[in-house]
Symmetry: C2
Subunit: 228 residues, 2 copies
Amino acid sequence: MSNQVSLEDYPRPAVGVDLAILTVASTTDSPRLCVLVQDRTAPDGRGLPGRFLRERQTVFNAVGDILRLKVNIAPPTSPTRLIRLFDDPDRDDRTWAVSAAHALSVHENTLAGARGDLVPVAADGGLPEALLFDYDLIVREAVTDLRERYETRKKYRDVQPDPDGFLAGPFTLAQLRRLHESVLSVELPKDSFNRRMIGFLRPVLRRNRSPALSSDGVGRPAQLYRKR
Amino acid sequence: MSNQVSLEDYPRPAVGVDLAILTVASTTDSPRLCVLVQDRTAPDGRGLPGRFLRERQTVFNAVGDILRLKVNIAPPTSPTRLIRLFDDPDRDDRTWAVSAAHALSVHENTLAGARGDLVPVAADGGLPEALLFDYDLIVREAVTDLRERYETRKKYRDVQPDPDGFLAGPFTLAQLRRLHESVLSVELPKDSFNRRMIGFLRPVLRRNRSPALSSDGVGRPAQLYRKR
DNA sequence: GGAATAGTGTCTTTCAGACACTATCTG
DNA sequence: CAGATAGTGTCTGAAAGACACTATTCC
């Protein structure tokens, strides 16, 4: 069809990768779903960390660069999810640029010392502040995507207690429930939730085979679990 | 951060748009979910229609070009869905190319006179023949994406009888069920299916307010419905 | 004992699926 | 009439949610 010469001659867009980094921060009383927001200078304002693809670079690689160079954390372990492609040719007034918006879930601890602020996500998926460009939309869609994975109420089979790995070690059913509540922005009934989850968890035992319990201080200690 | 000059200087990838065009063909006895497959010349073999983005072109626009110029049908009405981004730098041996795989559902009649073959999709989402590049994978993911929209068994609320519009005019419950069965590659029980759908349909009435019935020839004629 | 949290037994409602039956057409 | 397809009444089982109760800790 087309030969090499003409293919190279067509103008090409710069391809950007933007990253909505999601985490559940439990610094305060109850955990909250948050997005990492950074200051941007090109147009002044706040937005998501991003970067253009360098020569023959993959998206995975560019995400690594963003995390190392712009966020100042170690590259990801969990998969990066493609959320949307922004292709309005007037999107960036410097040049023709296409942007692939991605989402990445990371454990809270990974973000210790990260550049930027953890901004809590509202129940409707929005943020308390307006971001530059289409970043608000990216966050909304990333949150919707995340919530679908944590919506277990209609998935009797194939429930994954913590698909994105926001909980590190062993956890109690109450901690797991509060995680789901903060991701979904919904109150979940304790009894139904426990019965739904229990089959997909493995109780943690001590060396003497007695159940390992969490000692949070107040109230009856709870059984600790791991994902099965 | 970076100024205009250096931004323009970085090499850029060619950005391709590949299209998995899905339809439900009822030419034979029972409807079948199919994908449009075309012959390709660049490397010899079969694959999906696609095209590189021209200067400052949107994906929507490129999809229109693909449909007009490569498939020979009218541009789409239904939304095009982003499936995946293929970014292996060695994917195309002619140049550095990134490809945005998209899926598009169209009514069977739209494809009358289209270039290429309608190849039926197997129960596992695969095709009977191997395609070039990553095209098999695109088809698989496009079919998974489609099936999620037609999976109504666990969505008690917000059931959409025919989200992608494969049925044109009024239809019977049996036709709707056979559509779902061919999309999902699953047998659905008649009674449960009817009870689930009936609330989201509007019976078609004749001018004299009597119910409009389909007369397929054999058996009791069935009530015709439209989406509510 | 009282406060707080963990865990469970039971009831109701909802819905899917199975089964069988009735209804209405053609030949 | 038989054959074929449409449509429905009823039962069972699974699971969610509501409610209340018991269990175990700290003070």
